[in-house]
Structures are given as C-alpha cells and as structure tokens.
C-alpha cells in the first residue's frame, strides 16, 4: 500500500518536472546536456543525472545504453518484475527507449581506484574474496569475470561499483527467486542461487562502498 502511494507521488512529481523543464528540440549532443522529454518520467526516482535516489531508484549513471535499453524491454515484457518499473517502463516506447538509455549512459560517474585480479593474493573480506576469486568449491565464479575490475562493468554487464546497497541486495534476491530474468542461459540466476543471504548482504555493501 505504502509503495503504491509512494509511486503515485513519484509519478505526479515526475509530471510536474516535465511541465517545468525545458525540452530542447536540438542535436543529439545538446540533448545530452538537458534532459530529453522521454526521460523526464525517470527523474524523480533516478535523479536528473541518473545519480540514483536511495530507496526510490538505483543509479543509472555508469550503466551502458545497451544494458538500459535491454532492461526497459525486460520490464515491459515482465521478465523483470517490479511493481513500479513495469508501468513506468511502458511510458517509454519505440525510439524513445534509446533516447532515454543514451541520456543516462552519457552521465558521468566519479573516478574510482581500480583494483585488478591478482592485486591481492590473500583477501580477508568475504565479499571481496567472492568478487575476485569466487568460490569454485560450489562452482561460483568471481564477480570480476563478467563485471570487471572493481565491478565497473561494460556493455551488458552492469556497473556494480557505487551502486546502492539496497538495490544490489534486492536484485540478487530477485535473481534467486526468479522475479528477475532475461540474461543468456540464466547465468546470473545460477550465480545468485549459490549465494547465502549473508553473502548477498556482504556483496551489496562491498560494491556500494566502491566509490
């Protein structure tokens, strides 16, 4: 119930922004500097620069356009289930999917100190250990193998570094329960299914802390 009310507030505030914001009819380059009309609906939860608003919407800056386009389509088809994002994603259709994804993909993220596999041999932090070494006694690959150094991601592999811990946690849980699908061969569902609840907490905190 609460969620519904919150959703309603977000939608209405999104609409008010839409009215007041300038909607340029300009070249793609200029479009990136002001918010395209189609993306207005996203701002109240994800922030004007896609910086994310805690508990409302995850950070979009740092994700690739290809990834976000794919996710919008997965929300629309129901492969990704989320009571808020399903209706919201339906408001973005056709060419606008790319417009919205390109806009948030062009937003900058803070530079972080990158850590590569092998920088550390012995890793005490359990989440960092999974991130860089995995746990092959249960066929659990390192997060690094797909999300890259410090989990910065690229293309269809989303950036984990600096993402909200609450979001990372709910996503790992969604992959586990099957309310999030849509990757090839359920790779991520398979990985998530091997994680314990404690590990999910630790991994969420760990990647969120990489800023």
């Amino acid at each position: 119930m609460n969620k519904m009310i919150t959703a309603a507030i977000f939608v209405s505030s999104a609409l008010s922004i839409q009215v007041s914001a300038s909607v340029p009819d300009a070249s793609p380059k200029e479009l990136q500097q002001t918010v395209p009309a189609a993306a207005q609906v996203c701002l109240s939860c994800h922030g004007a620069q896609g910086q994310g608003i805690d508990l409302a919407g995850p950070k979009l800056a740092g994700l690739s356009s290809a990834y976000m386009m794919q996710q919008i389509k997965l929300f629309q088809s129901g492969s990704r289930q989320n009571p808020l994002m399903q209706p919201m994603s339906m408001t973005v259709q056709g060419d606008n999917i790319k417009v919205v994804a390109d806009y948030f993909a062009s937003q900058s993220v803070d530079k972080i100190n990158l850590h590569y596999r092998g920088d550390k041999v012995v890793i005490a932090d359990p989440a960092e250990k999974i991130a860089y070494q995995g746990d092959w006694s249960r066929d659990l690959p390192a997060c690094f193998s797909c999300h890259g150094p410090s989990g910065v991601g690229a293309e269809q592999f989303p950036r984990l570094a600096g993402q909200q811990a609450s979001y990372l946690k709910t996503q790992l849980e969604a992959w586990q329960s099957g309310t999030r699908k849509g990757d090839a061969d359920n790779m991520m569902g398979n990985v998530a299914s091997k994680l314990t609840a404690a590990e999910i907490d630790q991994l969420a905190q760990y990647f969120a802390s990489l800023k």
Partner: protein, 351 residues
C-alpha cells in the same frame, strides 16, 4: 603489399637472416593436453588456502606465481602478445579439477617425449604456453617468471597432497633449479606418507588433471551448426565477433579468435581439446550443460576462425600444416573460400 612483405621475410629466412628468432628455438611439437576419463570428485586433491602460503622468500615466489597467473597482462609486450590471462583456460587460478589444473601438470613433468628424444621440464612446458597460448615470447629458463609459476604450481600440488594424506607442517621449500624441473623425477623429495601410497606414475595421473574427454558425438563436428550454438550460448559473453569484453582496460571476457587470442600452435586450437574444455567448463559456472554434439560443433566454429600465425611457420602454410598439423584442427584448411593460416595475424605483436 602484404604479400610482398611476406616474400621478403621468406627470402630473408632463406638466406639466413635471423628475422624470426622465436621460431628457431621452438620444440617440434606442442604436446596435446591430456584428455582423460573423468574421475569421481572425492579423489581430487584440494590445495591449501592462499592465506597459508608461508611468509618469506619461497612464499613470495609462490605469491608472485599466483599473481602472474591471474593477471598475466603484467607481462604484456614483455612475454605476452595477446589479451589472454592463464586463468582464462585454467579456471580458479589453475586450481580447478578438470580445467587443466597446475597441480595436475606439475606432477607429470619432466616428461620424456619420444618425438624429439628429449625430456621436457615443467618450465619448458610453461614456455610453450607463452609461445603459443599467449602468442608471446617465452621467459628464459630459470627466469623470475618461470620460477614463480613453477613455485605456485608446486605449492598447489604439494599442499593438496599433504592435506589428502594428513601430512602436517609446511610445504617443503625447494630451490629455484629444482622448482622448474617438475615433480616426476627420482630425486624429487616426497613425504613418506605420500610416497608409500603413490608412485611417480600415480602422481603423474592425478584425478582431475587435464580436461576430461567429452563423449563422442553422433555426427561429425560442424562449424555451421557450431555457429548456432555460439549465438545461443556463447556470444552474450564472448561477443558476436568472438572478441570478448574489455572492461577497464582488461579482457574480463577473453577473446576466442583473432589477433588477441591464442595462436595456431596452442593446444586449444585443436577441436578435441577445446571441445573437452567447453563441455566441462562452459558456460562459466555451468548455468547450462551443452550436449557433447554442441560442444564439438561450437569448438569447430571457434577454431575455424583466423588467429595469430603458428610461430613455427616458415613462409608456406602447406609446409607448416604438413609438419605440425596432422590432427583435428583447421590450420591449412579452406573455410568459406579462405585457407586458414594464410591471413593469420602476427606473432608477439606489441600492444
């Protein structure tokens, strides 16, 4: 233009210019990786944790070996000529049974080879990996890199055997010259609790070594069918064009063909070897198990693409094929009107 350049190289080779120093020092054959029957899981040795590597000089070599193994790009342009890392094919940092673990190889060397009537040490095998799989230039015998990789391999194997046979205490330290030889030799010192139960031959065939043999497929392998398998199960990570995925300057997902992958002399270019690897280990973490037919077909697809030249190439693809490629590979064969090997990229190119 390209053709001319090749001719010049060919002439230079004929009149004895040492333009291709790498090729002259190469062994005549790159031995195929063991393709063996899969054994029960409880038989695999389990190495000690990396945290148990001792402090001190010996431990430092082991740690450096681990670091080079998982981030081999540290040696780019020095010894490595592509975007690969050892860990790409030897999963879990060379410590995974059935993914050609280092501990399996370490106890199988030195190995006598009839072909060249020569005993090959462990470091010579490692040199082969640099020359072929890494499309690079091998570190010299006794170099810091080969000692470190040998030390790491030895430590994984010995700590695993000691745990399996309840031998307490630290892994015995070996000198550099002993480390690079490998463990299959009479003067290799083993704790009595181990040597009383396992002889040299048993140790050279540790369960989980190499890649387990993929079952025979019903039909002959086909790159055309393999393309469909690739699209369905591989390309989301390795890319439409097989070039993997670069993230923050490193190939988090390794390229499978083209100039940044292993060359035509690497064991993985053999259809059987790659099929073994794929069937057992791919997709990573095994979210889906391919059928043997799919593994053979997709291996044929991947290995019927161009890649860096065989370093033993002396100017004629047919000669290299005749001498070194009488096995299940595509070198010298015609695919889509092109002879594979005729448009191969360079060996050990700088980044």
């Amino acid at each position: 233009m390209k053709f001319q350049a090749k001719n010049i190289l060919g002439v230079a080779a004929l009149i004895g210019f040492n333009l291709t120093p790498i090729a002259d020092e190469l062994p005549d054959r790159q031995q195929a990786l063991p393709s063996v029957a899969k054994q029960a899981e409880h038989l695999y040795i389990e190495s000690a944790a990396l945290a148990d590597i001792p402090a001190g000089e010996f431990g430092d070599k082991v740690r450096l070996g681990y670091q080079l193994f998982v981030n081999t790009q540290q040696l780019r342009d020095k010894h490595v000529g592509n975007e690969l890392n050892c860990v790409n094919c030897h999963l879990n940092a060379g410590n995974k049974a059935n993914a050609s673990p280092l501990w399996g190889a370490y106890f199988a060397y030195p190995a006598y080879r009839k072909k060249n009537d020569k005993v090959n040490s462990f470091e010579e095998r490692l040199q082969g990996c640099f020359t072929y799989s890494m499309n690079g230039k091998a570190p010299e015998s006794g170099s810091k890199e080969l000692v470190a990789l040998s030390a790491y391999s030895y430590w994984l194997g010995m700590s695993g055997l000691m745990l399996q046979h309840n031998v307490a205490g630290p892994v015995p330290e070996l000198s550099d010259s002993e480390l690079v030889k490998g463990a299959k030799r009479d003067d290799f010192i083993l704790p009595e609790a181990i040597s009383s139960k396992m002889d040299q031959n048993a140790l050279a065939q540790l369960p989980g070594r190499g890649y387990p043999a993929v079952p025979k497929a019903e039909q002959a392998y086909s790159p055309e069918r393999g393309a469909k398998v690739y699209q369905a199960h591989c390309q989301s990570c390795h890319g439409k064009d097989g070039q993997g995925q670069m993230i923050a300057g490193v190939a988090a997902l390794p390229p499978l063909w083209g100039p940044q992958s292993y060359n035509w002399g690497a064991g993985m270019h053999r259809v059987g070897t790659a099929a073994d690897f794929i069937y057992e280990n791919m997709p990573l973490g095994k979210s889906v198990q391919l059928t043997p037919q799919q593994a053979w077909d997709v291996s044929a697809y991947i290995n019927s693409q161009e890649r860096p030249q065989d370093p033993r190439f002396k100017g004629q693809v047919t000669d290299t094929q005749k001498q070194y490629h009488q096995h299940d590979g595509y070198y010298g064969k015609t695919i889509s009107g092109k002879v594979l090997g005729s448009a191969s990229s360079a060996n050990f190119p700088k980044k």
